[in-house]
């Protein structure tokens, strides 16, 4: 064990060990409570029946385990439809983001077109712009795409196209592609592989770690986003789960337990992704996290 704030000699003494144990136990319990209790409240809120929820003194342990609220929320409030909407946006957005960003990064890293440095510089400069500063111009672009003159509002493209132009992902992928030894690519090209073939059969298989990080964050980002889908998907039929939940919360069509059920349904995919891919996410957080 490595040395920490408290030395082992102190820990060997009775009083020291007792103090240390108490401090650790109190911290663990308080933090676990603060982290988990709201989640516990959300899940139990969904299974309590409406009378129990409406009581002045809330019950800590639900008296009823009523799973109906999930069923009504899923079908009658169309949470199911919004869930599938969001899943469709997330998967489609992930695919387009990877396709565009990989091609852009490959071009900048390996094909080195004329003016590539200028393009890269411009993209890096755009990283300085927070998404919120671009909100209005982006909205106006999507509402009336220049040159094409089409309106993308209330279509999946309103989410996918702005997400595809992700300068940070392109930069991350480019840096990774830069590190792939040139000899490998030369060998492939001597064997007669074209540039696309090299990308597909040499570069991509070697880039699995960075691709998985980019993919995870793309899907999570699409799932969690609120402000942008809220603005561009005003038509209820096209909305994501987050936007629909916010809209339903401001109406009286939904009972409290159905709302809790909706919140649980919206959280489950994120919790599953986090538990399944914890290692990659934490690695991505510490690599990109301090970058923000």
């Amino acid at each position: 064990m490595t040395r920490t704030l408290i030395s082992e000699t102190v820990l060997r003494r009775r009083r020291g060990r007792l103090l240390h144990l108490t401090a650790v136990a109190v911290t663990v319990v308080v933090f676990a409570f603060v982290f988990l209790f709201p989640l516990y409240w959300m899940v139990t809120g969904a299974v309590k029946d409406p009378d129990e929820l409406a009581r002045a003194t809330p019950t800590l342990i639900p008296e009823t385990w009523n799973l109906d609220s999930f069923a009504t929320a899923w079908t009658q409030l169309q949470i199911g439809k919004y869930f599938l909407n969001t899943a469709f946006y997330a998967v489609g957005g992930w695919f387009i983001q990877i396709a565009v960003d990989v091609c852009a990064a490959y071009a900048l890293s390996r094909l080195r077109p004329w003016g590539g440095r200028v393009v890269l510089g411009a993209m890096l400069a755009s990283l300085m712009l927070p998404a919120t500063a671009l909100l209005i111009p982006a909205y106006m672009t999507v509402a009336d795409v220049p040159l094409f003159g089409v309106n993308l509002l209330n279509t999946p493209w309103a989410l996918w196209l702005p997400a595809a132009a992700n300068a940070f992902n392109i930069y991350l992928l480019k840096r990774f592609f830069d590190q792939i030894p040139g000899e490998l690519l030369d060998a492939a090209s001597i064997d007669g592989a074209g540039r696309l073939r090299i990308l597909w059969s040499v570069v991509l298989p070697l880039s699995r770690p960075v691709l998985s990080v980019v993919s995870i964050f793309a899907v999570i980002g699409m799932w969690k986003d609120f402000l942008w889908p809220f603005l561009v998907l005003q038509d209820p039929d096209t909305q994501t789960l987050s936007v629909a939940l916010s809209r339903l919360a401001n109406t009286s069509y939904i009972t409290d337990s159905e709302m809790f059920a909706g919140l649980v349904i919206a959280s489950v995919p994120m919790v599953v992704i986090f538990l399944a891919l914890q290692r990659q996410i934490l690695a991505g957080l510490s690599a990109g996290g301090v970058k923000g």
Binding site: P130, A131, I136, Y139, S246, L263, S267, V271, V290
Partner: protein, 179 residues
Amino acid sequence: MLPPIVVVLLWQYFYDPGNGLFNSILSGIGLPPSQWVQSPDTAMVSLVLVATWANLGGTTIIYLAALQNIPGELYEAAELEGASVWQRVRHVTIPQTRFVLLVMLLLQIISTMQVFIEPYQLTGTTNPDTITVMVLVYRYAFTVNHDFGLAAAMSVVLFVVLALFSAIYLRVTRERESA
């Protein structure tokens, strides 16, 4: 890890002045109920609490990594010099994590200045006590006025202020990398 709107809607229930969880707890320990987001005095504090809880997981992980990176020898040396536990925290832990603390503060400022979802959902976009820049941008562009020009101008002002903090952030991280 939860979608932000889930956190905000969940806390909306906690803050319910009628039979919300927080008021039930307050009355349980014999304190008067609070209006939380509906009172001008507590609205802002309530929003801060939500945002803090929402970011707790991520920031804890980053701070934990920073604490684990402190070389144990430093504590040992300090202890041999006779430093108490508090002195060790003050003179070893805090200086050693100073960089992470500073970076997190800057990132926090940058992200909090762009906050929208908490005031939008919990206190409404017309509440004068909790107006943020993004709420104002939204109000001018998408509700009554439809004045995209004015809203875009506000975003530019916000960008200039944020650029200042981004510049400090870049400087701090560069210095660290070159050191």
